[in-house]
Subunit: 262 residues, 2 copies
C-alpha cells in the first residue's frame, strides 16, 4: 500500500516553491524532480534524458491560482508541464457550473496542444498557485525526437491518464459521496506519493472544498460534511490545506480503490 518514493522527501517543496513570483525557483532540478520521478517510473531514463528534462526548467514560470492556461476551443501550440501546484482540465456549462475532468499534478504534462493541432475540447487552468513550464511545440517535438525513452515514458503516462479518466467515470457513476471522496483521496495519495510529495501519509492539498466538489459532482456543502465524516471515523485528518491519511487501508477499502494502474 505504501508507495512512497524511495528518494529523500523534501517536505513542503510543492507549496513553498509555488508561492508566487517573488519566490525564486529553487536550486537546480528542485522542481523538475517531480517530472523526472514520474517519467522514470514509466520508462527508465538515461543521464542525457534527465539533463534534457532539466533543461526545460528554462520555460518554467510561476502562475497564479485560477489562471486559464488554455481556453476551450483554442488551438494551443505548446506543451504544458506542471512542476508545482495543482492544475486541472475542466469544462463549464452555460449555467456556470464547472466540472473538473482531471488533475494535473507536479510532474504531469499535457501535450495535446503541441502534438496535434486540434482545438481543445476543454479548458486547462490552475487550481492553486503553480509553477508551470510552457514548452513551445518545436522544442517539445525536438525533445521527443532526440529522446525515445522520454517519448515512451510520455506515451505510457498518457495511458495512465486515460485509465484515470475511466476511473473517474466509474467513481462518479457508481459510488456514493463518501466513497467518491475517499477514492479521490486515495488517488491523490498514490499519485503524489509517486513523485515523493507524500511524507508520513501527509500531503498538501492546495484546494478549496469547491474543487473536490466540482471534481466529484457533489455540492461543496456535501463535500464538507463528507470530510467531517472521514475525520470523525479517524480515516483522515485535515487542518488548513494539510491532509493526512490516517488509515490508508481502511480508506481504500471504503473506496474500493485499486492501486497500481497509476
Amino acid at each position: 500500500m505504501e508507495t512512497f518514493a524511495p528518494t529523500a522527501l523534501k517536505e513542503l517543496v510543492v507549496t513553498d516553491s509555488a508561492r508566487g513570483p517573488e519566490c525564486p525557483a529553487p536550486e537546480g532540478g528542485g522542481l523538475v524532480r517531480t517530472l523526472l520521478c514520474k517519467l522514470d517510473g514509466f520508462a527508465p531514463l538515461t543521464e542525457q534524458d534527465r539533463a534534457a528534462l532539466v533543461g526545460l526548467t528554462g520555460y518554467a514560470r510561476p502562475i497564479e491560482r485560477h489562471t486559464v492556461l488554455a481556453e476551450q476551443e483554442c488551438v494551443v501550440d505548446h506543451a504544458l508541464i506542471v512542476l508545482a501546484g495543482f492544475a486541472g482540465r475542466s469544462k463549464r456549462r452555460a449555467s456556470g457550473r464547472r466540472q473538473i475532468l482531471a488533475y494535473l499534478l507536479p510532474g504531469d504534462l499535457c501535450d495535446r496542444g503541441a502534438l496535434h493541432g486540434y482545438p481543445l475540447d476543454h479548458a486547462i487552468e490552475t487550481l492553486s498557485p503553480c509553477r508551470i513550464a510552457k514548452v513551445p511545440r518545436a522544442a517539445y517535438l525536438d525533445l521527443l525526437g532526440r529522446h525515445p525513452r522520454i517519448a515512451l515514458a510520455v506515451q505510457r503516462a498518457r495511458l495512465a491518464e486515460e485509465a484515470t479518466a475511466r476511473e473517474w467515470v466509474a467513481n462518479i457513476g457508481m459510488r456514493s459521496g463518501l466513497e467518491r471522496t475517499a477514492h479521490l483521496l486515495c488517488e491523490l495519495l498514490e499519485r503524489l506519493g509517486s513523485i515523493g510529495a507524500v511524507s508520513d501519509g501527509q500531503f498538501d492539498l492546495p484546494l478549496t472544498q469547491m474543487d473536490p466538489a466540482e471534481t466529484l459532482g457533489l455540492s461543496s456543502v456535501h463535500v464538507n460534511r463528507v470530510l467531517q465524516a472521514l475525520r470523525r471515523d479517524g480515516l483522515i485528518s485535515l487542518r488548513g490545506h494539510r491532509l493526512r491519511i490516517l488509515a490508508p487501508r481502511r480508506l481504500s477499502q471504503l473506496a474500493e480503490f485499486e492501486a497500481g494502474y497509476l
Copy 2:
C-alpha cells in the same frame, strides 16, 4: 446538425447482420464499411488502405450478447474491431454494480491490448449481439506499419475516444438525469450518423434500459421515466429497439451537446 453520411444508407444493416452465428457475413465489405467510413473521416485513406482493412474481415466472428471479450486484469494480445452491434468497456464493483465506461460502436476499435502489453484496467464486453474482428497483435502491428494513414486515423480516433471519455465525466458529474440521457442520445446520433447507421433520425439501439442506466449512473427505473418524459415532450420516439430523434435541435439544447469533437 445533420451529419448523416453521404453514402447510401443500408437501413438495419446493424441488426440483421449481427443477429447471430447462423447469419452469414454479408457480401464483400458490407460491414467493414463502418470501419472504412469512420477511419476515412479521420484521415483520408487510399485504395490500398481500404483493401487492407477489408482484408481484416477474415478475423470477424459473430459474438453473442453479454460476452466478455477481455477480462479486467488480463493481458490481451489482439486488437478488437467492432463491425456490428454494440460493445462497451465496463468496470464492476464488488457489490456487482456495473459502470459502462464507453461504447464501442461499429467501426470502433480497441487496440490497447495489441499495442502495449499492459493488463487491462477494465473489461470489454458485448452489449448486444455483435460481429467483431479479433486481429492478432502481429497482424495489427503489420497493418499499422504498412499503412501510415491508417495509423494516423487510428491515433486520431483515440483522441476522439479520450474526448468522449471526458465528455462522459462531465455528463455524469454535472447534468441531471434528463440532461444526461439526452446527451447520450445526441452522442449516439452523432457517432452512428458518422458511420451511416442513422436514417432519417432513426437508428437501432440494441440495448436494455439497464445499459443506459449503467452508463449514466442512474437506476433503470429512472431511465425509464426519463425516456417517457422525452417521448412526452416529443423529443424522441422509441418502439422496441428502434429509436427516432424527433427534435435533434431541442434535444441537443437540452443536453448542451457540443457537436463536432466526435
